[in-house]
């Protein structure tokens, strides 16, 4: 059954295609209609941005002094052991806070692709293996990891004490001076950096405008959404079953899966993915079951408390968001796929022999035609903003701290 509004949109698109022919534009395509069920499923991928009420586990969440401090620290290489690696060395603002490399490169070369940070506040698990259950604990690990920044509490405290502005903002945010001897110091640094990352939200995309047009029954607004993207959206929802995992406004269920991307790591070894992530999470003093969670009710620790380790977790990696993909190539946990076309081809030609023997059973090669691959790529491209978003400005300088860093 088709929806009357969808029919009107289809007519409009058909008319538009005819005009394009008359003007020497691309050839007319079969008009795309969406059923009531498809429109409901499209609606489930919004609104954008989703509601968000701060992180109850981070006392600095939304705190202007902490956001200012966090932004300063994010770009400050002095936190690292050699004074040359900042968070921004891998998380580059113009690239969706990714680095464009196959795998991260801090003090040493890593084994995983750098995840982008746009919209990171909406995630449940952090890192490809979900080894962290909060943005702040995920922000602390690279600072301390000897392969990434190799920092320490002592180095961090020296940096803050050397700058009246940083020290002042720390005091404003946490109510005490920075001290390497304070067990809260490192978590507080990370909570400030997390507070800033929480402000990194990408703008609405062409898909979001199309979704809103469908919801508002605004045929004229909907007509500007490209035909190829409509066909790709239909494949995404239907034959591809992509939305089974790539669900909701983020186009991710926030969980983990094995899609047959090799987990071997050069020169020798394997990346255990989610299996290792669960072990790391549960052994960390900084998980949400620990003393540094600022949510006294531990209501934010439901996921961690109820985790169920399974054999199939080996080789599973996080289902990534599909937003802002045009900014964050290459793709997959090891950066092994260079383009969105390569990603779609991966699913089209899926090697079932690579899938975990007790893993997901619905994954099958999609056997897409060249045109269908083009359509899916066209759809995925509409999940990114037309231009890279600018990093948000720090909070206005109304704080009683010196602005100089």
């Amino acid at each position: 059954m088709t929806f009357g509004f969808a029919e009107r949109i289809a007519r409009l698109v058909f008319l538009g295609a005819g005009l394009a022919l008359l003007s020497g534009g691309p050839a007319a395509a079969v008009p795309i209609e969406f059923t009531d069920e498809e429109i409901a499923r499209i609606a489930s991928h919004g609104p954008w941005p989703p509601d968000w009420r701060g992180d109850p586990g981070n006392r600095a969440s939304g705190n202007p002094a902490a956001i200012w401090l966090g932004q300063s620290l994010f770009f400050d290489a002095r936190l690292s052991a050699n004074g040359r690696v900042s968070c921004a060395a891998c998380h580059r603002p113009r690239s969706g806070f990714q680095d464009g490399r196959l795998t991260a490169r801090g003090l040493a070369r890593g084994t995983r692709n750098t995840p982008g940070l746009l919209n990171v506040r909406h995630q449940r698990w952090f890192g490809w293996d979900g080894g962290h259950d909060s943005l702040w604990s995920a922000s602390l690990r690279p600072i301390l990891d000897p392969r990434e920044m190799g920092g320490s509490a002592a180095r961090g405290a020296r940096l803050l004490k050397s700058s009246p502005s940083l020290a002042c903002h720390y005091r404003e945010a946490f109510g005490k001076p920075p001290s390497a001897d304070d067990p809260d110091f490192l978590p507080n640094l990370a909570k400030a950096i997390a507070a800033w990352q929480e402000t990194l939200v990408s703008p609405p995309t062409p898909f979001d405008r199309f979704r809103e047009a469908l919801a508002d029954k605004d045929a004229a607004a909907a007509a500007s959404y490209p035909q190829a993207a409509r066909r790709g959206l239909r494949h995404f929802l239907g034959r591809g079953q992509c939305a089974t995992c790539h669900a909701g406004p983020l186009f991710s269920n926030g969980e983990f899966g094995d899609i047959g991307v090799p987990f071997f790591v050069r020169p020798a070894g394997v990346d255990p993915g989610r299996q290792g992530g669960i072990k790391r999470l549960l052994s960390s003093p900084y998980n949400l079951l620990g003393a540094y969670n600022d949510d006294a009710t531990r209501g934010n620790a439901v996921g961690t408390r109820h985790l169920r380790p399974e054999h199939r977790n080996f080789g599973e990696f996080k289902v990534p968001t599909l937003r802002n993909l045009t900014l964050t190539a290459p793709y997959m946990h090891n950066g092994s796929l260079a383009s969105l076309r390569d990603v779609v081809r991966h699913y089209s030609e899926l090697d079932e022999d690579r899938l975990h023997s007790d893993g997901e059973r619905i994954l099958k090669p999609l056997m897409l035609s060249a045109g269908e691959i083009d359509d899916l790529v066209a759809f995925l491209e509409t999940l990114s903003p037309p231009a890279p978003p600018q990093p948000p400005l720090p909070p206005p300088g109304a704080l009683p701290c010196p602005a100089r860093r």
Binding site: A40, R41, S44, A243, T244, C245, A247, G248, N253, G254, E255, F256, V302, G303, R305, H306, L307, R308, E310, H311, R312, S357, D358, G359, E360, R361, I362
Partner: protein
């Protein structure tokens, strides 16, 4: 490799008792939240009704303390399930020993292990459920009564 059935035995065997205070707190909160839930025999308001071996089991999903329809369980979000076990017009005295859910077509279960708290009068609450993919989920309740163990099943479709 263990069989699918062996990899998904009932959650009751994995049931971990919480520490005393948290269980007490949950019981108090649960008692208040469930005050409108749980008279025997169950009614439509108590959720879906299942019958087996002389037992009547009603279940309903709960998010943030508020009951929702089984058809409204959101994908990839934690929720709880409240359960009432009756024997005719009275609480059965049976225990909800396990609750788990699988996706039969996908051949896997949940990524989370629910914990069951007894609320009294044949009422129970399972915390930590999550359906992380769209499709058909099959719930499996294990009830222990004087007559032995009974398993009751129900299907939920998540969109």
């Amino acid at each position: 490799m263990k069989s699918y059935a062996k990899r998904y035995p009932l959650a009751g065997r994995r049931w971990r008792q919480g520490d005393g205070w948290s269980v007490l707190l949950l019981a108090i909160v649960g008692s208040v939240a469930a005050s409108a839930f749980g008279a025997c025999p169950p009614t439509v308001a108590d959720g879906a009704n299942l019958v087996r071996d002389g037992l009547q089991l009603a279940w309903r999903p709960v998010i943030g303390g508020s009951p929702i329809a089984a058809t409204a369980i959101p994908m990839a979000r934690h929720f709880a399930i409240e359960v009432q076990v009756c024997s005719g017009a009275t609480p059965s005295g049976a225990t909800l020993a396990g609750l788990d859910a699988t996706m039969p077509e996908h051949r896997h279960g949940m990524n989370y292990r629910p914990r069951i708290v007894a609320l009294g009068d044949g009422r129970f609450r399972a915390e930590g459920m999550m359906f992380h993919m769209s499709g058909r989920w099959q719930l499996e309740f294990e009830v222990q009564s004087a007559k032995g163990s009974s398993r009751l099943f129900d299907d939920v479709r998540v969109r």
